[in-house]
């Protein structure tokens, strides 16, 4: 049976190496994918993911269980990725403060969860066009959209990662998709 987050954290803090390995196994794919989508450089992901978990282990004592452990680690992964982008002087075009200023979306225009990917078969070429268009979006729309495409991340998780309200995440995803459609139409 899988340990609960609290139990896993307690065992890691007690120095149980197997528990530490289980924590990494449980969250590594998500954390690495978050980093990859943020920095867009596959070569950097291994090192940055390692940095994420080392930071997580150092700060594990401060994990208070208010968010899921995976969300907490993805938040650290996002910060590690942002630090890397800053180091490369490819500063992201938004800050949490900027995102908070996004005007709220009308209720009936709220972004829905992404459609079931299995419901539609699309060609590799079509997917590649969408991915290229996504890469061309401004960071403020690209990141929430790229994170929302991860099945395990809900809007509330993304809100916590980016440090912005859930409504703003929905707005950014909705507007990001609209922008994506515009770019694909040209």
């Amino acid at each position: 049976m899988e340990d609960s987050d609290a139990e896993l954290v307690r065992r890691c803090l007690a120095g149980d190496q197997a528990a530490c390995a289980r924590l990494v196994s449980r969250c590594a794919r998500m954390a690495g994918t978050v980093i990859w989508r943020a920095v867009r450089d596959r070569e950097l992901v291994d090192d940055l993911c390692q940095e994420t978990f080392l930071r997580a282990f150092r700060a594990l004592g401060s994990f208070d269980g208010r968010a899921r452990l995976s969300t907490w680690i993805c938040s650290i992964a996002h910060r590690v990725a942002m630090d890397e982008l800053r180091r490369q002087k490819r500063r992201p075009q938004f800050s949490a403060g900027e995102l908070r200023d996004e005007p709220p979306l009308e209720e009936d225009g709220a972004a829905g969860q992404l459609a079931d990917p299995l419901a539609l078969a699309i060609s590799d070429e079509e997917a590649a066009r969408v991915h290229a268009a996504l890469d061309s979006l401004p960071e403020r729309y690209r990141l929430p959209l790229a994170y929302a495409a991860l099945q395990e991340l809900g809007y509330d998780d993304i809100a916590m990662m980016l440090g912005i309200p859930v409504g703003t995440v929905k707005t950014l995803v909705f507007r990001g998709k609209a922008l994506l459609r515009e770019r694909l139409a040209t």
Partner: protein
């Protein structure tokens, strides 16, 4: 259906590649974490050194600003009180801002 169809865009986004950890990644990190835990008692040291540096900078800055403002405000009645409060608030704000920038309190 075209690529602008929202459902097709969602389907394409769901096919964004996902990272897979290399073999042995979890075990390697668990070992590193254990090593880190062995040195855990020294982890506060860099934060204290950085915090000390920030405090020293803020103190010197506050002292120099204080000297300057005192010279300017000395003829003004009640100037000393205004100066003291301004310096206290300014120092606190600067210390908080620097600590935040240095990420002293974040993982």
């Amino acid at each position: 259906m075209s690529t602008q169809d929202p459902r097709r865009i969602d389907a394409a986004l769901a096919r964004l590649p996902e990272w897979q950890p290399p073999p042995g990644f979890a075990m390697r990190l668990a070992a590193l974490a254990s090593e880190g835990a062995a040195n855990h008692r020294y982890l506060w040291l860099p934060a204290v050194l950085r915090g000390g540096g920030i405090a020293a900078c803020v103190s010197v800055g506050a002292w120099l600003t204080g000297e300057l403002l005192a010279a300017l405000l000395s003829p003004v009645p009640g100037g000393d009180e205004v100066l003291a409060w301004t310096l206290a608030a300014g120092s606190l704000f600067l210390a908080w801002h620097l600590a935040r920038r240095q990420r002293l309190f974040h993982a």
